[in-house]
């Protein structure tokens, strides 16, 4: 690792930053002091190191063979570390043999009143930079080969769009669908909100495009049976026996409707009580004429929102796993109102009562659907989670907070429970693929704000409602976003990864395994056949947790080794001449 140390010749450059540094720090003294270091071959100060002239100094000194490692003491590395790494590259020197020391933001700007102390500190910090770079290797970016195929699990609209988008980017696609047909929940709808397009037309478009695309292989009635590999090179065997070698995976495993719990709102006991999906199915099956129930015309309908969503412990019966669904299912408010408007269109004299907790018509065009429902004469009643509506013989009773908690009895030939959604049945799959799920059982994204379609596990991406409840517009966007990430990962023949990962000196490794429990990334750190720790650079994120517990110091973080850090601390602790 440190074989290069003997021949190391460091060039040190101290920047004036046009007075920003030199007005406080005696840059000449810093350069002079560093010049005394036995392995510093050149030590200079210069007015503006970041200028072309400054960079040229460095490049010339490298090219003339005087130095083979560089330390620049100047501003924050955020501003110019990359500038100088590129300069090293132009001089044909490994760009990682560079250390940037911050003596502006963290010295001259914050210690204006004490020139001597600032100078001493700048000297110590620069010396620490020298000690670090003396112990630095020529790091190289890590390249991993990549199969130009993406495996997509789930053939609903999100999976279909992701497949089309990926294929359009020149990738091969294997689309695995558990059921016997593609299209998922899109089959259930007549029209979709907010635009009211025909669901079957939209689906038809997707399906014909998929079947016409030779790059997409659809495997129906199949599941992933075995799983192995890592980003660039995943290996799956399907229940059909097909083997798939994919560079990346898009999960599009979708959602399920929640079912009311036994007896909730007399569901299952009273045949007047149905769910919203059941109503939509009935309306689709009989697209015209008045609604009927048990052969009788329906004159009044009560919709009850938040069934299976926004559940409160102690009020609602738990789901199969013993937990309540405390999340909002996002899609049901607008879906219910969209359906209500369709009902009103075919049967304008139908009395409709909408019992809600909050109306969440948040999306583009949603509020207009809510307004249309009001205009259509739908009556709205607001209840609280503590006082749920009660289903009676031929009515529903609600304590309406909008009219000062008046108890209102509403006639109801039909009661529609606006049920929520929960993730598809993926427990086995996620266990096999080692994918994280959240407390809401949906697949867990890498960051809930900034990385919604990525998973912490490299090479996995999320499309649509497997990540959270989503409507069709949002699922399409998520699918496109996932396809974008896949295109980025697989755009080249290899995947380039940061070199700052853990590495093992096999000679020092005693095989004690103390490091294994420290690693949070499955597969990144393991014991190999010769009982030595080994790092899979494609999976390691470079946190260094394993380094801390390795007593023989066999493990280290490339670019941030413990030896380097200790040498830096020593340089900072030691006193220098003022």
């Amino acid at each position: 690792m440190s074989g290069a140390m003997d021949e190391a010749k460091v060039g040190v450059y101290v920047c004036h930053c046009g007075g920003n540094i030199s007005d406080v720090v005696d840059v000449k003294a810093v350069a002079a002091e560093l010049g005394k270091h036995p392995q510093v071959a050149i030590s200079k100060e210069f007015a503006f190191m970041c200028s072309d002239a400054g960079q040229k100094l460095v490049i010339e000194d490298i090219k003339s063979g005087k130095i083979n490692r560089v330390v620049v003491a100047a501003c924050s590395p955020a501003l110019h570390e990359l500038t100088f790494r590129k300069a090293l590259q132009r001089a044909d020197l490994n760009p990682y043999l560079y250390e940037h020391v911050n003596i502006r933001e963290q010295v001259s700007w914050v210690h204006k009143g004490d020139h001597d102390a600032a100078t001493r500190k700048a000297t110590s910090l620069t010396r620490a930079g020298v000690e670090k770079i003396l112990r630095q290797d020529r790091l190289e970016s890590i390249h991993v080969g990549a199969a130009k195929r993406v495996l997509i699990v789930g053939g609903g609209p999100a999976g279909l769009k992701a497949a089309l988008d990926s294929a359009a980017r020149g990738l091969k696609v294997t689309l695995v669908e558990k059921s016997g047909r593609l299209g998922g929940h899109l089959h259930e709808f007549d029209t979709v909100y907010p635009g009211g397009q025909s669901a079957s037309e939209l689906l038809g478009k997707l399906l014909s495009a998929v079947s016409a695309n030779p790059a997409i292989t659809v495997v129906l009635g199949a599941e992933v049976k075995t799983w192995d590999g890592f980003v660039g090179n995943f290996k799956a065997v399907l229940s059909t026996g097909d083997a798939v070698n994919a560079g990346a995976v898009i999960m599009a495993t979708g959602y399920r409707h929640t079912a009311p719990s036994a007896g909730e709102y007399r569901f299952g006991k009273d045949d007047r009580v149905i769910t919203l999906p059941a109503l939509i199915e009935q309306m689709k099956a009989a697209p015209r004429g008045p609604l009927t129930r048990g052969g009788r015309a329906v004159r009044s309908v009560a919709f009850i929102h938040c069934v299976g969503s926004r559940q409160i412990e102690g009020v609602h019966a738990p789901q199969e796993d013993g937990k309540v669904n405390d999340y909002c299912s996002r899609v049901c408010c607008t879906a219910a109102l969209h359906t209500i408007n369709a009902l009103k269109e075919r049967q304008s004299d139908l009395a409709i009562y909408d019992l809600y907790r909050d109306i969440r018509t948040y999306g583009r065009g949603h509020e207009a659907i809510y307004e249309q429902a009001s205009k259509n004469g739908v009556l709205f009643f607001r209840f609280t989670e503590e006082a749920q509506p009660e289903i009676r013989e031929s009515s529903v009773v609600v304590k309406d907070v909008l009219t000062w908690n008046q108890e209102v009895e509403l006639p109801a030939d039909l009661v529609v429970l606006v049920t929520g959604v929960k993730p598809g049945e993926v427990a086995e799959l996620t266990a096999m693929m080692k994918l994280p799920t959240g407390s809401d059982r949906f697949l867990q994204e890498a960051h809930p704000k900034l990385r919604p379609v990525e998973v912490a596990n490299n090479g996995f991406f999320l499309a649509g409602a497997c990540q959270a409840p989503m409507d069709l517009v949002e699922s399409a966007a998520a699918a496109g976003a996932a396809a974008s990430k896949v295109a980025a990962v697989l755009s080249k023949d290899f995947i380039t990864l940061d070199p700052y990962v853990a590495r093992v000196d096999a000679e020092k490794c005693t095989g004690c395994e103390a490091c294994l429990p420290e690693c949070a990334y499955t597969g990144a750190l393991f014991m190999n056949g010769s009982k030595k720790a080994e790092v899979n650079a494609a999976l390691c994120k470079g946190c260094g947790a394993c380094v801390a517990v390795c007593e023989p110091r066999a493990l280290d973080l490339a670019g941030w080794s413990l030896d380097q850090m200790e040498a830096m601390v020593d340089a900072m602790a030691s006193e220098v001449a003022p």
């Binding site: 930053c17 359009a168 999340y327 969440r360 509020e367 809930p448 900034l450 919604p452 966007a477 295109a487």
Partner: protein
């Protein structure tokens, strides 16, 4: 200049789309009219529901864009026009506004700002804070170049005298640029409905009635006061109200739609306030709480459990009473029928979101919908397409949206742009373009 794509707007959506495209090997010209990239997100305090510091999670993304070899970022640059050529490419006419400094010389040291004698109101702080006639836009701005505002400059020359690199150029002029691209992506963002739009809420004249974005700055750790204080006299507020739908779901303002983010940012701000002012009373007057996203409902329930007071009520009128305190006329929609008056010492209006920019100003076929945002006729399956072939849109350019949904759309837009480029400018085998 030639590139594969022009991305207009360097807020979080534009940044994400530019990064996605560049990561796919595509050349991007990213144009931003403000002096720094980062958009609205970089000015926020923390983000819901994670309560991550907005600056901390935006800055790395900004830096990745700024350092990406395939992204050419033009800040402080306006789009004057975009024309479609016969071959299907686009020619954009851009104008780089003068900063009055030479960017290749400037070292971002702020000495000009320190010596400038003219204090002016800081747009980044939504007027709550001060800056100088020449100043770096904000702490984490990228690039770290100052801007001189000629309308506030007395041309005293102090900045030039202090500049160690002699980079101030008082006679600098705007510079026109032309970019040829295969696709255009609009990520032009939103603005708030004006705070003076509603006379019944004081028409912008009440000193302690502030906008939601001002609320963000108040709560930002590096905000204008360094802590939560109210503008009229620097008092630590003890009773703070949020008025929801103060610019949305209101046809009289021309904003009949829901602005989608206000419930959640108000809840977030309320939680942050109760964290920094543990004894303060915090009330949110609302119509419906729309906590629809992942983890949002739990966030809302947490806020309730923390003691934030949620009142379903319409706020009819706000007026200033003694000491800058405010009296709000409340019409409760639950509990009691009688109108009542509530007093608070700081009021934050949850203003609505409207488009920042109207693409129809340019002579091309990009249309807006009745809500003023860019029309997306391809939705639901193709939500990024606009009425002009080859022009795409994402983020709040196509309607109010929070950060995560904007990022999702940005990724999708990058895919749609990528698909177009695959046909018009196929990648050379081996990865290079």
């Amino acid at each position: 200049m030639k590139a594969h794509t022009l991305v207009i707007g360097a807020g979080i959506a534009g940044l994400q789309a530019a990064l996605d495209l560049a990561e796919q090997g595509r050349q991007v010209v990213l144009v931003e009219k403000n002096p720094s990239i980062g958009g609205r997100m970089i000015s926020l305090s923390k983000v819901y529901p994670t309560l991550d510091c907005a600056s901390c999670i935006t800055t790395p993304r900004m830096a990745s864009v700024a350092h990406h070899p395939l992204i050419h970022t033009l800040t402080y640059t306006e789009v004057l026009g975009v024309a479609k050529n016969e071959d299907g490419t686009f020619r954009a006419h851009l104008r780089k506004k003068p900063r009055y400094i030479e960017e290749d010389k400037c070292i971002g040291c702020k000495r000009c700002e320190e010596v400038c004698p003219v204090y002016i109101r800081d747009d980044f702080e939504h007027q709550l804070g001060a800056k100088k006639a020449i100043s770096i836009p904000f702490t984490n701005a990228i690039p770290q170049f100052p801007v001189l505002e000629p309308q506030s400059c007395t041309w005293c020359g102090a900045c030039a005298n202090a500049c160690p690199v002699d980079c101030i150029d008082f006679t600098q002029e705007s510079r026109d640029l032309f970019v040829e691209v295969d696709a255009v992506l609009l990520a032009t963002g939103f603005q708030l409905t004006p705070i003076d739009a509603k006379a019944q809420y004081g028409g912008g004249k009440l000193r302690n009635v502030i906008s939601s974005l001002q609320g963000e700055r108040l709560l930002a750790p590096h905000g204008p006061y360094g802590r939560v204080l109210r503008p009229s006299d620097g008092k630590v507020p003890d009773s703070i109200a949020f008025v929801q739908c103060a610019g949305s779901r209101d046809a009289s303002l021309g904003v009949p739609y829901c602005s989608r983010v206000c419930c959640m940012y108000a809840i977030k701000q309320a939680m942050l306030l109760s964290g920094s002012l543990p004894t303060a009373d915090i009330t949110i007057y609302y119509m419906d709480i729309r906590a629809f996203g992942k983890g949002y409902e739990a966030f809302y329930q947490n806020a309730k459990a923390m003691g934030i007071n949620f009142v379903k009520a319409k706020v009819g009128r706000i007026r200033e009473i003694e000491d800058g305190n405010l009296a709000l006329r409340i019409e409760r929609q639950e509990g009691t029928a009688q109108p009542e008056e509530a007093q608070h010492d700081l009021v934050i209006l949850s203003l609505g979101l409207t488009p920042q920019w109207n693409p129809g100003q340019l002579a091309w076929e990009v249309k807006t919908a009745s809500d003023g945002f860019v029309a997306t006729p391809g939705a639901p399956l193709d939500p990024a397409a606009t009425t002009q072939d080859g022009v795409f849109a994402c983020g709040t350019a196509t309607g109010p949206k929070d950060i995560v949904d904007s990022i999702m759309e940005a990724g999708n837009a990058a895919t749609e742009v990528g698909k177009r480029l695959e046909i018009r400018a196929p990648m050379v085998p081996g990865g290079a373009s």
